[in-house]
Symmetry: C2
Subunit: 248 residues, 2 copies
């Protein structure tokens, strides 16, 4: 009947706060163990505490943030074991994504992947870690999006979100990250080749290799970064249970 005038997207404040925090985690602006308070953020962002609270709780649900026993929020600190687990999960999940992506990827997207990898190489040679990380993220996600599995993509997003505070800060701790980063681009070339040949299992293997490599790169930095973590309080807090859910 009427023409399609497009959607008026309603961005709630809560979502804006969430996205902003998310980006801060991705880019490593928030360090593991760093604590966040509702009122502070609300004041910084110019809103009431309410939307901030809900954004924080959502990030807690996604395990990007942690709520200590005293209920204060902090960026989830990882142990080396947790980091290893995370990488294992990534290998399985992103392996599946790569596998499925190869079956559906278009030549245009492959071209785009090659382009992104060139950007990444440039960043490596010019020694701009930020650009490298950005390109790396773009490479992986454009690949995974080709799988057309939104639920899987969502899981992967969650995994990257948790790894973010480490990935972005790790390069600061290395004296010469270039050879490591360069190796990353080689894995990417292997992935591109698998896309061209249409060999899903080879792509999955290459992704797993890439993740494994980056894990070796970052793992030892986990504890280094975490040692900046404040001790994190001890005693629990006896929540307030004014009303009691009564019936079903």
């Amino acid at each position: 009947m009427t023409a399609d005038l497009g959607q008026i997207e309603s961005v709630t404040i809560q979502l804006q706060v969430y996205n902003r925090l998310r980006e801060a985690l991705f880019t490593g602006k928030l360090l593991p163990g760093e604590s966040l308070t509702i009122r502070n953020l609300a004041a910084m962002l110019g809103t009431s505490p309410m939307p901030v609270r809900e954004a924080l709780q959502r990030l807690v649900a996604e395990h990007a943030l942690t709520q200590l026993p005293n209920r204060t929020f902090c960026v989830t600190p990882f142990t080396a074991a947790m980091f290893r687990e995370l990488m294992r999960v990534r290998m399985a999940v992103e392996g599946l994504a790569a596998n499925q992506a190869v079956r559906r990827i278009t030549p245009e997207t492959i071209a785009r992947l090659r382009e992104i990898n060139l950007e990444m190489k440039a960043g490596v040679e010019e020694g701009v870690p930020t650009a490298v990380m950005t390109a790396n993220r773009a490479f992986h996600f454009t690949l995974y999006e080709s799988a057309e599995m939104p639920q899987l993509l969502d899981i992967i997003n969650g995994l990257w979100l948790r790894a973010g505070p480490y990935l972005m800060n790790a390069h600061r701790k290395l004296d010469n990250p270039t050879p490591f980063l360069r190796a990353g681009t080689l894995f990417h070339e292997r992935i591109i080749a698998a896309c061209e040949r249409g060999t899903p299992t080879a792509a999955a293997r290459a992704i797993a290799g890439d993740i494994w490599h980056s894990a070796r790169y970052f793992r030892r930095n986990v504890d280094v970064i975490n040692e900046a973590t404040p001790p994190a309080a001890a005693t629990p807090r006896r929540g307030r249970r004014r009303a009691e859910p009564s019936e079903s």
Copy 2:
């Protein structure tokens, strides 16, 4: 310094609401497409709308609930394609969990698995689908817990949560579910055998088989259940943007 007196677990109302809704989803008390309102639930549970709101938002973040363009909440309805994707992801993720579980599982846990599977068999022969589903869930999760990968377990929990409304209601739509359910116990036996022999890849294969089988069981019910879904409104809503997050 002081003795460890254990933790006084502070269960917030929000968490109580969350857990109750979660259980309702798992057991299929909430149907796909069914809509929920904050105030209704708050009145039913005898609390203020606030904790309910936060519990609902958390479930939305986990994709167990969906927020329509008009911002009302409903149990996420699946298309057949989404269901297929979910099963594919489950095969990969739970396959990994089974694989790792075999490497760490103890004889006691294996005995427990066998016990649970007997319960499940009993439920099948006596025709008590609820008992079967409960035992099935217990079987899978005691297996996965042996992997000692909490992050992976959390992902699996999310996947099951989304499948819950279907799994529990599917049997109602079948005239004779017994042979299908019986086949499930056979896969479980295969899994137990893999645990005993200590063959991780065989366990992963068996889990994948189990999931694949149950997918075949439930897939066609997806649309049957969803057709009870109300049409779900059309026009978007122009949120209210009173305050604007200003600076970083």
